[in-house]
């Protein structure tokens, strides 16, 4: 066999080739090692438990307790506060809905910052769930809107339209996700399991309302600013490389409180409540006011309504 090979090799002697290949192999190993060098900066490799953690819906109550404990410990280590981390289940007979008075909103962005604080969004890079669009009166075309307006608000001739996750009844993001890392809870809130998301960002491409954000870098929150009241499916600190979004503050709302954005709004433009209760404020608004949803034509059936007084 060797003879045959040497023959085919056409002259270049076996020894020389062996030496050449040995040299090539050594330099290849060295070059590969050099190429891999940046890996030594990796600080956030998952622990074995994290790596093997099952999908949220497969977890037993014991599993969940252990996971909550593990995360609490990690938060305590990273931020120096023991969080009150829970996994509050949805309340039976409740379906959350939101109504926003488009005629009253003055575009002050207080909701934007209250949300960042409440939900422990990364401050650097800065990540926000709510985007307030400054719209010219007479147009509902978002393409003519201004996202980065500054100065005095409200400005004459304009109105303001805050947009956040619409908790769609037919949510395209849920359909898109290849691994069921994002789903709709019985109370209508679309959540993400930050320990299951693989970061493919297909859901971001699918969402018609630009409601989802991706952690392009390790999220940074100054230790003193962490909100220690946390829910597993909402505002616990997120790892890098996963998607997150508005959850209607479910760690608050499932405990009978209003979402942070509704609470902070100085004009009372934001109304929140149970769509299944005909007497609730949102149900009454939907019944009695002029109500519309954004991009109705895409058929997502949002639980987030805009309305006018009148």
């Amino acid at each position: 066999m060797n003879d045959e090979e040497r023959e085919l090799d056409g002259g270049s002697g076996g020894m020389t080739r062996a030496a050449f290949l040995a040299g090539a192999a050594t330099s290849a190993v060295a070059a590969t090692a050099a190429a891999l060098a940046p890996l030594k900066d990796v600080t956030d490799l998952p622990s074995l438990e994290e790596f093997l953690q099952q999908h949220y819906k497969e977890l037993t109550p014991e599993d969940k307790a252990a996971i909550l404990e593990r995360i609490s410990k990690q938060v305590e280590k990273d931020y120096g506060v023991r969080p009150n981390l829970t996994d509050q289940p949805p309340i039976p007979g409740v379906e959350f809905g939101y109504a926003l008075n488009i005629g009253r909103c003055i575009g002050c962005r207080k909701c934007v910052y209250a949300c960042v604080k409440e939900n422990n969004q990364s401050r650097d890079p800065q990540l926000q769930y709510i985007r307030v669009l400054k719209m010219r009166k007479g147009s509902i075309d978002v393409e003519t809107s201004d996202h980065h307006y500054e100065g005095q608000v409200p400005e004459e001739g304009f109105y303001y339209m805050p947009v956040q996750c619409h908790q769609c009844r037919k949510a395209p993001c849920v359909k898109a996700c290849p691994v069921k890392a994002t789903w709709q809870e019985p109370d209508g809130v679309v959540v993400v399991d930050y320990n299951w998301c693989i970061g493919c960002r297909y859901c971001m491409a699918a969402c018609p309302y630009w409601a989802r954000r991706f952690n392009f870098a390790q999220p940074e929150i100054p230790a003193g600013e962490l909100n220690p009241d946390m829910g597993y499916l909402s505002n616990r600190p997120r790892p890098k490389g996963v998607v997150e979004k508005c959850t209607f503050c479910l760690h608050r709302t499932r405990n009978g409180k209003y979402p942070a954005c509704a609470e902070v709004c100085p004009t009372g433009s934001r109304k929140f409540g149970n769509l299944l209760d005909p007497e609730s404020e949102v149900s009454q608004i939907i019944k009695n006011k002029r109500v519309y949803v954004l991009k109705e034509e895409v058929g997502t059936l949002p639980r987030f309504y805009y309305y006018f007084d009148l």
Partner: protein, 412 residues
């Protein structure tokens, strides 16, 4: 059975041994490819450590070069198998010998596709969440879960067909029909399905009017059947120049007619799409306007798309003229078409759907150096793989590699 397996491993081992033989040109080529691959690996390690912030992507433009390359390459992989159709369906033997080379290309390219998807993941450590059975697979609802299945299935199919046919040639036996023909026919349908499913990935999103068009899948197929055989035309000429393996001019001309027809259809479909967008001139034209003419002072993609248009047009003209019966012009046309389609399908198809964003914001996307390096690395690795495959297979096809004991024969 055991003996058969043993023989097979001996065969693989001997083929592998072939990859460390060659003249200085071969080693230079392989060294260069390895170097670029390692540069890409290095860039990927940086991305792995710091996150996707080292790319030019943003919350607004959440997919970039990786998915663009992925889309282009799925087409290449699908098209490689299209050579099979004339051979097995119409019993036209012209392309018989190059079928295996086409399928090997499909294998290498699918590996590249999988690497591009992996490079795009925010959490590559959680890839197992996508493995049916142990993960949680959103099948059949999510189009991405379909894509995972069809791509891996396609990889397995082609690997089997190549492995089996080449082994039979090596043994000097006639391949048993039942061991490859059914697979070949499945592979033909599968080839169409991988590119259709990849198109549906985009088409299925109602919130992205730029993608939400029924014509995307046919456009994808047409452009794929231009770029794929075009690439093979170039490869086959390298092979016949550098090895003893014979490729007839007739086979190249057959490929030329495939490229020719597909290119005409491709340009026609593109024209249909543009007519719909610009003549209607509804609010949905914003992305197309951004792509071709810029929007509100943002012109990021304009140079790209006009380059692609120019290349496509030049390739089309060359291909329909009898001029391209001369290999020199045919090669030129293929190169122009491949680059043109790469831009048109990548930067021209994936990116503009994100600009303006769903809320009308214009954020442009400019790939970073690190991103380019990763892409370059994956391309180099793919070429490296394909070179190795060819290096292993061609001695078998020319009859230089035969089981020990059997006399080395001439070309079969």
């Amino acid at each position: 059975m055991i003996n058969d397996l043993k023989d097979y491993f001996v065969f693989v081992g001997r083929c592998l041994a072939k990859t460390i033989e060659g003249d200085w040109r071969y080693f230079l080529w392989m060294t260069a490819l390895s170097a670029v691959t390692l540069l890409g690996l290095n860039a990927y390690c940086k991305q792995f450590a710091s996150g996707l912030m080292v790319t030019g992507m943003s919350d607004q433009v959440s997919w970039g070069l990786y998915i663009a390359n992925f889309t282009f390459l799925v087409g290449m992989a699908a098209a490689a198998v299209m050579l099979v159709i004339p051979v097995y369906v119409y019993k036209d033997e012209t392309l018989h010998d190059v079928v295996i080379l086409g399928e090997l290309l499909a294998v290498a390219v699918i590996v590249m596709c999988l690497l591009f998807v992996t490079a795009d993941l925010g959490r590559p450590d959680r890839f197992w969440h996508m493995v049916p059975g142990i993960g949680k697979f959103n099948w059949p609802i999510s189009m991405l879960s379909w894509d995972v299945i069809v791509l891996n299935g396609y990889l397995a199919l082609n690997a089997h067909i190549c492995g089996y046919l080449v082994y039979m040639v090596y043994c000097g036996r006639k391949p048993a029909k039942m061991w490859y023909l059914p697979f070949v026919f499945i592979a033909i349908f599968w080839a169409i399905s991988i590119h259709t499913v990849t198109a549906f990935l985009y088409v299925g999103l109602g919130g992205r009017p730029f993608w939400n068009s029924a014509i995307v899948a046919p456009r994808f197929l047409a452009s794929a059947f231009t770029a794929g055989p075009g690439f093979l035309i170039l490869t086959l000429q390298f092979i016949r120049r550098l090895t003893k393996y014979q490729v007839s001019d007739k086979a190249l001309m057959m490929l030329r007619s495939i490229v020719q027809v597909s290119m005409v259809i491709n340009v026609f479909l593109l024209f249909c799409e543009l007519f719909k967008e610009f003549y209607t001139d509804s609010a949905h034209v914003a992305s197309a306007k951004y792509l071709f003419f810029g929007l509100h002072g943002h012109f990021g993609l304009v140079p790209w798309i006009w380059t692609a248009m120019a290349l496509d047009a030049a390739a089309l003209i060359l291909l329909v003229l009898p001029l391209s019966k001369s290999l020199k012009y045919l090669d030129l046309a293929c190169v122009l078409a491949i680059v043109g389609i790469w831009i048109e399908k990548g930067m021209g198809m994936v990116i503009p759907a994100f600009v303006p964003s769903q809320l009308g914001e214009i954020v442009e996307y400019f790939p970073t150096l690190n991103e380019w390096l990763i892409c370059g690395g994956i391309w180099a690795f793919g070429l490296l793989l394909y070179t190795l495959f060819l290096k292993m297979t061609i001695p078998v096809l020319t009859g230089d590699l035969r089981p020990a004991g059997a006399a080395p024969g001439g070309p079969h």
